[in-house]
């Protein structure tokens, strides 16, 4: 499975989670998705989304980009498809 990267740097809540959800939609279970985000709320909302959608949050790290700016890197493993909620 090809790893997927979602670059949500500069986007404000809830857009990082929406981009992540869009990338996870239809992805095979086990797919690894990496999310880069600068929004302070993503620190709380990516883990909350993983819990609500039964995906695995494997890792969260703080990173420094080449230009000296900082962001967070979330590593998410897509879980089994959830039952349709609506």
């Amino acid at each position: 499975m090809t790893p997927v990267e979602v670059d949500a740097r500069g986007l404000r809540c809830p857009l990082p989670v929406i981009r992540l959800a869009a990338a996870a939609r239809g992805a095979a279970p086990g797919t690894v998705i990496t999310v880069l985000a600068t929004d302070p709320a993503a620190r709380h909302d990516v883990p909350a989304w993983c819990r609500m959608r039964r995906h695995e949050l494997r890792d969260v790290t703080d990173e420094v980009a080449g230009d000296g700016s900082t962001h967070q890197r979330f590593t998410v493993v897509v879980g089994e498809p959830a039952p349709v909620s609506d």
């Binding site: 809540c13 809830p14 857009l15 929406i18 302070p40 709320a41 909302d45 909350a48 609500m52």
Partner: protein, 430 residues
């Protein structure tokens, strides 16, 4: 450039017409939050106040305030007749609120606000206990006035261990084992735990907290700003803090209760005001209005509690039925009038604005609705979704007589408002 001699009235005609103001627009039948056309909303129509952070005064408190402005304007420290009258009114206010809180009048000080009382309360405990240490312990969901004070104390000393935030569980309840360990660390001087959380409604286990602080000899400050007027008055504390707005009184009246048994000492210069616990002179009329509101609210508390709790149960059920919506806080052990939920893939600011456009005033803990772009520290500490957050705090029925109908209308539009905001972000179907 201002013209000499010309001035505008402080309240313009436009402001007086706003629905929350009862100064010029109140109907003869009452002063409360009546359905009126708002001049500022995009959609003219009835407004529903579902945010109790600031509400109109209870009618009787408003009457008292106006009367007290005329009767209690003098300096209560003067010996002349006018001063003695102001003093008598202030004493009366103190007697009423102290009796309501179950303390003696000298143990209660009026201070400018609940948050001011929180800071003064913590600082006084820390100062009195300074030989024991300089370490403050607080739950991670305390009011920001406590958390910012603790962080400041630690930063100013260059020692992060001088402030410890004790974790809470997913419902927002303080972890008693973690509290126990925090209290056991040497140098712990004071602890702060709220009676219940005003953002998510969860009650704290105060009796168990008090048992632990007592066992360690650490004084406990209890922030009851969210619960006073809605719930029984806490009895397990060394310092108690409240704010008159929570029981339908005016802004500008915080209460700081320091029982005689408590070792508390004001940091800073000696004051002759309010038992030496503040340097801000209380406004007599505001204190009296707060006392009037207390009596009104206390007299109807049981029925108010039951009705608010049943409305909140309906809101919780209706919110939970909206797709991808998480209702947060303890479902049972909670305040009667607070309900919070977060909707996945929803912009909190957009949802508050959409609901406002439709006539509903609600609050939100989402980052985009805060000035700092940081989400609510309470939601963050609980590990729940912070975006798409809506917080409803029901005003007392005495200030919002149409409360039940307002909630019904709110529940009728809420699913569509959420769907509208979700569709704007292209998040439908995710």
């Amino acid at each position: 450039m201002p013209t000499q001699g010309a001035h505008l009235p402080v309240l313009t005609y436009f402001q007086r017409r706003k629905p929350y103001s009862s100064v010029a627009s109140a109907p003869v039948s009452g002063w409360g939050y009546r359905r009126r056309v708002s001049p500022t909303s995009a959609t003219p129509g009835p407004r529903a106040l579902l945010d109790a952070a600031g509400t109109p005064l209870l009618p009787a408190a408003r009457d008292t305030l106006l009367a007290a402005l005329d009767a209690g304007w003098a300096d209560p420290r003067r010996l002349h007749a006018e001063g003695r009258q102001a003093r008598a009114l202030l004493d009366r206010a103190r007697e009423v609120v102290a009796a309501g809180l179950g303390v003696r009048p000298p143990e209660l000080s009026f201070v400018p606000s609940g948050p001011v009382a929180l800071r003064a309360g913590c600082e006084g405990l820390m100062h009195a206990g300074r030989r024991r240490g300089k370490r403050l312990v607080a739950s991670a969901v305390e009011h920001s006035a406590v958390l910012t004070l603790g962080r400041h104390l630690a930063a100013a000393s260059g020692d992060p261990s001088l402030f410890e935030e004790v974790r809470v569980d997913a419902l927002g309840r303080v972890d008693l084992d973690a509290l126990e360990s925090a209290l056991a660390r040497p140098g712990t001087t004071a602890a702060a735990v709220q009676s219940a959380n005003g953002e998510v409604g969860t009650r704290q286990p105060l009796a168990a907290v008090d048992e632990r602080t007592r066992a360690r000899g650490v004084p406990l400050l209890v922030d009851a700003m969210a619960s006073l007027g809605r719930e029984p008055v806490p009895t397990s504390y060394d310092v108690l803090v409240g704010d008159a707005r929570s029981w339908g009184g005016p802004g500008g009246v915080g209460v700081l209760v320091v029982p005689e048994r408590t070792r508390w000492r004001r940091a800073g210069p000696v004051s002759e005001l309010e038992g030496g616990r503040t340097d801000a002179e209380p406004v007599v009329a505001l204190a009296l209005a707060a006392a009037e509101a207390w009596q009104q609210t206390e007299a109807t508390r049981a029925a108010e509690h039951a009705r608010a709790a049943s409305l909140v149960a309906r809101i919780r059920a209706a919110a939970a039925a909206i797709p991808d919506t998480e209702v947060v806080g303890d479902p049972r052990d909670r305040l009667p009038h607070v309900v919070t939920f977060s909707c996945l893939y929803v912009d909190g600011e957009a949802l508050v604005t959409e609901l406002d456009r439709r006539g509903f005033a609600v609050a939100s803990g989402s980052a985009c609705t805060s000035s700092t772009l940081e989400p609510s520290h309470v939601l963050a500490a609980m590990g729940v979704l912070t975006h798409g957050n809506v917080r409803v705090t029901l005003p007392l029925e005495g200030v919002a007589p149409d409360r039940e109908a307002d909630v019904e209308r709110f529940l009728a539009v809420l699913p569509d408002a959420v769907a509208t905001v979700r569709a704007q972000l292209g998040a439908a179907g995710l």
